[in-house]
């Protein structure tokens, strides 16, 4: 049966058809849908783990036990999972194990543009890289075969375009795979004596995988029509752009396995086509390999190391005609993403901005608090860094910073890696104030459950971490809970906690307005008699409020009646509809 599927759904389908019995993941754009789609299959287990390291280790446990397993994450998630990754290369697997990682060239939704292929090389783990949804499905299945044949975890690398583009796939049936579990300390206990013996195995395995790469259909040569005097080596979505720009005219070596890379195949291709261009997004990984094996290629000197490619970037590099037909003279204002109308984060940010507090931020929707007009953040680095960073900031700043700085971190991010930073604050006693923005969901990635919500990925009741008790138990004595829709309360508690000479936590608790169970109240409207056009409400950055005909206007289709603007207005101009 033919279906239109995004690449991530096709990966999920491929994993499922291959008999994958367990997926453990942490959400992260553009990888999230693999796990969400897989969760809809009833005959396999699926979960959100607190972070990618835990997810990878859980998947390994299942593979050790004899069931095919997978874990999924975004590129920066693989940094968190790097610890198990490098040693899993040594232990290998029992049943197959696939690690799906999705890169984000162009940084549509990420804090950096790192190239995951470096991990495959560094950890000496094979990596497959599909270029559309059908390949995503096929490669997910192939990954398990390679995993078991070569006794290694396999990385399946997606990128934003392949992950989120729909193309047609042919689906198949599921097979069940179980391997017997046998205790094998020499293979699975990576203490020095055993690890020393496993390292040669890893090197021999890589040599065998290079042999595989030379002849496997996962890497293929497409002959051109003879009209061009060059050939292209490419992979992933770049392959599609090459075909779009050149059609079938150019000979192409299309690599589906990007680690390890073949040697003879590349040399033979180069000898046949003459001049070779390597077209790959981000870092010159294939290019460097080609040059190392003595094949002269043109790569990053012609094609950018930055951002996403398209057919246009290739056409431009080859001086093909620009197809642009229309250009306007008017500058269209940018439309950056922003916090939603009624977002509970906005109330807390307006209080922080008003008090001119230094705010170390974290990864989530609340990163949008850095945007104008709130401009409420000073730093965002990676998951959990706000809490650990604030500790160091205050240890260095002492009394100069302690009463004037906080960090903000969401409930899911706090579970991911904020809690370890808080343990450091409690243990090494920095006078820091940590604000947990608890909106009862993992918001930015599109509403995933997490250990604080009390529900599993399938929406069933699950264990629930009590944030207040957790903070108390690790040694934080002062734990306060506020409602971010109540600005006065937030302001009061913030000042009290900043004044204290001890670590403290403020939990700013209110569910995300986009959650289905959150029922909006009636929209507010502006009493134009009362509005003095002071524009104070415009500094709040609510998308439902704009300024027209010299007074504020509320868009009733966006306003959810949170009433925070009414608290900000000095003239009581925002009024609730009379019931």
């Amino acid at each position: 049966m033919k279906e239109l599927m995004i690449g991530n759904a096709a990966v999920a389908r491929g994993l499922y058809e291959a008999g994958c019995a367990l997926i453990s993941s942490y959400p992260g754009t553009p990888s999230t849908e693999i796990t969400e789609v897989f969760a809809k299959y009833d005959d396999a287990y699926c979960e959100w783990a607190p972070n990618e390291k835990v997810a990878t280790e859980a998947a390994f446990g299942a593979a050790l036990r004899g069931k095919r397993s997978a874990c999924c994450m975004k590129h920066v998630g693989l940094n968190v999972a790097a610890d198990p990754l490098f040693t899993l290369s040594y232990t290998g697997v029992n049943a197959g194990m696939v690690i799906c990682v999705a890169d984000d060239p162009g940084m549509h939704s990420s804090q950096n543009e790192q190239d995951s292929r470096h991990y495959a090389i560094a950890a000496k783990i094979p990596m497959l890289e599909p270029s559309d949804s059908q390949e995503a499905l096929d490669f997910a299945k192939l990954a398990f075969e390679i995993s078991e044949q070569f006794d290694t975890p396999v990385l399946l690398k997606m990128c934003t375009r392949v992950a989120h583009s729909q193309s047609i796939v042919e689906v198949g049936e599921r097979v069940e795979v179980t391997k017997p579990y046998e205790k094998n300390p020499q293979k699975y206990i990576m203490a020095p004596a055993n690890a020393i013996r496993r390292h040669p195995f890893v090197e021999e395995r890589t040599a065998k995988l290079v042999e595989y790469a030379e002849t496997s259909p996962v890497n293929r040569v497409e002959d051109g029509d003879g009209s061009r005097d060059f050939g292209v080596i490419t992979s992933s979505t770049s392959y599609q752009y090459v075909k779009e720009a050149f059609g079938d005219s150019v000979p192409v070596l299309k690599l589906g396995m990007v680690n390890p890379l073949p040697v003879k195949l590349i040399r033979d291709f180069a000898a046949k086509v003459g001049k070779v261009y390597v077209i790959e997004e981000l870092d010159p990984v294939i290019e460097t390999h080609c040059k190392a094996i003595g094949v002269d290629v043109v790569g990053k000197e012609k094609f950018s190391i930055l951002g996403e490619f398209s057919q246009k970037s290739i056409e431009k590099a080859f001086d093909m005609a620009d197809k642009t037909a229309f250009r306007l003279d008017t500058d269209v204002p940018v439309r950056p993403p922003m916090m939603c109308a009624g977002c509970p984060h906005r109330g807390m940010f307006s209080v922080l901005a008003k008090n001119k507090i230094t705010v170390l931020g974290d990864i989530g929707c609340y990163t949008l608090g850095s945007m104008p007009p709130l401009n409420a953040l000073d730093m965002t680095l990676c998951m959990g860094a706000s809490v650990s960073g604030l500790h160091g900031y205050n240890k260095a700043g002492g009394e100069e910073t302690e009463g004037k700085s906080v960090c903000v971190i969401g409930d899911s991010t706090f579970m991911h890696s904020g809690v370890t930073g808080l343990i450091n604050i409690a243990y090494n006693q920095s006078n820091s104030t940590v604000i947990i923005l608890d909106n009862s969901i993992t918001g930015m990635t599109g509403h995933q459950q997490n250990p604080t919500t009390g529900y599993s990925i399938k929406g069933d009741p699950a264990g629930k971490v009590d944030l207040e008790s957790l903070c108390h138990s690790i040694g934080i004595n002062s734990v306060r809970v506020v409602d971010p829709y109540n600005l006065e309360e937030c302001n009061k508690v913030l000042k009290e906690e900043l004044a204290k000479d001890e670590p403290s936590v403020i939990i700013s608790r209110r569910p995300c307005v986009l959650l289905k169970y959150v029922k909006p109240k009636k929209p507010l409207h502006v009493n134009t008699e009362k509005c003095k056009s002071c524009k104070r409400c415009m500094k709040f950055g609510c998308p439902a409020i704009s300024f027209r005909d010299n007074h504020a206007v509320v868009d009733p289709t966006l306003c959810i009646g949170c009433g925070v603007c009414a608290q900000l207005c000095a003239f009581d101009a925002f009024e609730s509809e009379v019931e």
Partner: protein
């Protein structure tokens, strides 16, 4: 010959359903189809774009400058933002709704008035409709996306009944009648 449709708008306006409907219809018509959009941060009220490409064999999932046969825009300035992607003989179908982006809300930029007129003056074929009003007539402001799909259908050779069938397959049963009405209003206005 590959045909290219861009669906652009503001995060949260319902372009996802429009592309789902169109993708499904085109697969059923026997085309090779690619639909591409970016999920995640941009969905939070930001500018969003979906590429729909169909033909005998589609490679790239994206539509670049000068390649779009149609731009279906849910908002006025979003049509202008992507007009560089339009082919010389392409068509812009635009909902005349104005949604202020944050720089306009905070007074850092002006909402450009007369942007559709400028496009027309440059020779762009602009088909402007008040899709929001038509959607409300159909029963819900949320049906804007289907009104616009109705408008797009006018330019396609695919029989109307097949579009209606695709709507029936893409929306919840209780919303089928309302969406059929929205489609009809877009098609015939």
């Amino acid at each position: 010959m590959t045909k290219n449709v861009m669906i652009v708008g503001v995060g949260g306006q319902g372009s996802l359903l429009a592309s789902k409907l169109l993708g499904r219809l085109l697969v059923d018509e026997g085309y090779d189809v690619k639909v591409s959009e970016v999920h995640g941060m941009s969905q939070r009220g930001g500018s969003v774009v979906t590429y729909v490409r169909f033909g005998d064999r589609v490679y790239s999932p994206v539509i670049e400058a000068g390649e779009a046969d149609f731009i279906v825009s849910f908002e006025k300035i979003e049509a202008a933002r992507y007009v560089e992607n339009l082919k010389k003989d392409g068509t812009v179908i635009v909902n005349t709704q104005q949604i202020d982006p944050m720089p306009v809300i905070i007074g850092a930029a002006e909402y450009p008035s007369g942007i559709l007129e400028e496009m027309k003056a440059k020779g762009v074929h602009v088909d402007a409709i008040d899709a929001l009003d038509l959607a409300r007539q159909a029963g819900s402001a949320k049906a804007c996306n289907i009104v616009l799909m109705g408008r797009l259908a006018k330019y396609f050779d695919i029989p109307k009944e097949k579009w209606i069938a695709a709507i029936e397959n893409s929306v919840k049963p209780q919303f089928v009648e309302m969406n059929k009405k929205a489609f009809e209003l877009g098609y015939s206005c």
